[in-house]
Symmetry: C2
Subunit: 384 residues, 2 copies
């Protein structure tokens, strides 16, 4: 059977060039970066090279990057680490209702420990209004955390405007760029970012590696205590092959991001145009301020889960909600935040594109999807 | 130049059979374990197989294992997760003075948040006395955390006896088995273990993957909040290739551990016998209750760092203190806990063996080490 992967937003295949660069570090040039002997020094030098490459892709200084185990860990570190380190200054955090669960659940955890959190509304496209950020800032605010691009609906937030406000108000500004890093440009200085979460496995690097940019002077506590790796901010033996892979992936993105974005935007827009011909369908997220590889649709009267399973039977990997919440029965918090009713939110489909997506894949989806939707609606209990 | 790796306690090369098993999951059978489509289900199934293999090596039920990013993360989860989840029951934790930094630093972090910690002394071999554990337990004690085997000096603790006491006193018992897993037997039921920390990269599996055994009914909070992976106890997209590698490594250890231990014990004892012929040298740790692959020596009047660098120049990778603290100027807390004076603790050398260690490697070390020690002593400012 034909096999078409359209779930790049959940995870990506590792680029073969990335894998080749990782290989020696598994059992030839292996070592513990904390060891002083030559194998240790070689491992250390390899992760320093990776640090430089990852830093470069966001216009940062290499020494301001720490490697973590995932974007989830980076986001947990930001929320909790900033809260604990700055509680003498204030106890208020601002975020939005459409952040990833790891931001929202870290925020909720902090609320139980005496911190106050403002969860900003978004508009029908999922956009945060910078004015809302400004209005929410008080003299107790220690952190603003707004994602760069949403993982479900692909909406790109006005990070640069929010960054200006935070700089003026002297509040730390964090963005979760897990979905956008390597897909659209990001620049820590231009955007006034103090903290940036990124990871490898959404940009053709390996799973199990994330990173966190921390601007010089930002007060933050670690959440993993131990041997003092990563400048004391993230203890754990460094995952050398993983970090090397992240570095290579970042280097490749630096060169290839622009052309890929151009190609994917075309494919994306063709997919959107075709899918919207299905009656009672809608596009979730912004028509243009969206990631080049993201599409997200709602189809009235049917369940997203059923859609995904029927596409799966035809060889297409897709997702409903986000991968992270796809096994929960709750409708997506992102889709409800942009105003979708529960049944519309349940009938959502995310098709996310990537480097191997071809014109004929889009043709195929446009060929089979209308029939699947039609069949599911015929048996739908929701359609009066 | 001859190249001899004798730092297996810091990190091990990935077994080629492990790497082969990991490979397809990087970019052929890749997927997000939370996705409902076939690629997601295949990834999920792969980590479930790994869960079974890792569980088996400690006699546990697969569903009681969660995967983490490292032993450091597992230990942080235990200390903080048990403390936060059981604070209504009590605020007292018992551990030892020779635990890994990630246990000790998590404990110190908890002390700043209202918890009380007892750091038990050890004897001259590094052994914790089970009677001391019993005496230290109060009605406020919520956790006893004693490592299975020490990472620096290889001493194997009387875990089974301590487990009996904790069971009788109804206190959760955790062991950090990062150094022992796959080297000596461990059985969660026989040893009455409620929580066990393990990782892959010390047993020929990949870096960046750990696991935590949690007995049914144990109340524990996650430290990474997010999408609810690993039964809600460790959010983050699963590192599928890494976890698959951990599973394969565990399966191989199951078959090969016994024979390797026999082989390494012989090599270890020959190394110890030979090194102790050097005057003013001593073995740190217990002569027999020690890991099959661990040796740790002190040489009066010289610096361990200098020893390691001179061995490095002759092609031998060794370590002083533990890898995790080898860049700090403090003498090892383990060596000071067993009664070594600062200068003795500074002059320590750990040579740790592994699957590729051969008789001729031991010959070579025994051939060059006496000369290196002699030369360093000739220029030593410490010698009278």
């Amino acid at each position: 059977m034909k096999k078409i992967y359209l779930d790049y937003a959940a995870t990506t295949p590792v680029d073969q060039r990335v894998l080749e660069e990782m290989k020696p570090y598994f059992n030839k040039d292996f070592g513990n970066t904390m060891s002083v002997h030559s194998s240790g020094r070689a491992a250390k030098s390899a992760i320093d090279d990776a640090r430089e490459r990852v830093a470069k892709l966001m216009g940062a200084k290499p020494l301001r990057i720490i490697f973590t185990g995932s974007a989830t860990e980076s986001n947990n570190t930001v929320l909790k680490g900033i809260a604990f380190a700055n509680k003498d200054k204030g106890n208020h955090i601002i975020t939005s209702k459409i952040e990833h669960d790891c931001v929202l659940n870290s925020a909720r955890w902090l609320e139980k420990r005496g911190f106050k959190v403002t969860y900003l509304d978004v508009d029908k496209y999922g956009l945060v209004d910078p004015n809302d950020v400004e209005k929410a800032i008080t003299d107790k605010t220690i952190l603003v955390s707004i994602m760069h691009a949403n993982n479900e609906i692909g909406t790109i937030e006005p990070i640069e405007e929010i960054g200006k406000i935070c700089k003026r108000k002297k509040v730390y500004f964090h963005t979760d760029a897990a979905q956008s890093f390597g897909k659209i440009p990001i620049d820590v200085d231009k955007m006034n970012l103090d903290l940036v979460t990124v990871n490898a496995h959404k940009m053709y690097g390996p799973q199990g590696v994330g990173a966190l940019y921390i601007r010089e002077g930002v007060k933050i506590d670690p959440i993993l205590h131990g041997g003092g790796h990563e400048f004391g901010l993230r203890s754990s033996t460094s995952n050398v092959p993983g970090i090397v892979g992240f570095g290579k992936a970042a280097e490749l993105r630096m060169k290839e991001m622009k052309d890929e974005a151009k190609k994917l935007t075309k494919l994306r827009d063709r997919l959107i145009e075709g899918v919207l011909k299905i009656e009672n369908s809608r596009l979730n997220g912004h028509p243009t301020k969206r990631l080049p590889n993201n599409t997200n649709f709602s189809f009235s009267f049917i369940e997203g889960e059923a859609l995904v399973l029927h596409l799966d039977m035809k060889g297409v990997d897709a997702s409903t909600g986000s991968a992270c919440s796809s096994k929960s029965l709750e409708p997506s918090h992102v889709l409800t935040a942009i105003g979708l009713k529960h049944d519309q939110a349940h009938g959502s489909l995310r098709l996310s594109l990537g480097k191997d997506t071809k014109d004929k894949d889009i043709d195929y989806v446009l060929e089979i999807l209308p029939g699947i939707v039609k069949n599911l609606r015929m048996i739908s209990p929701f359609k009066d």
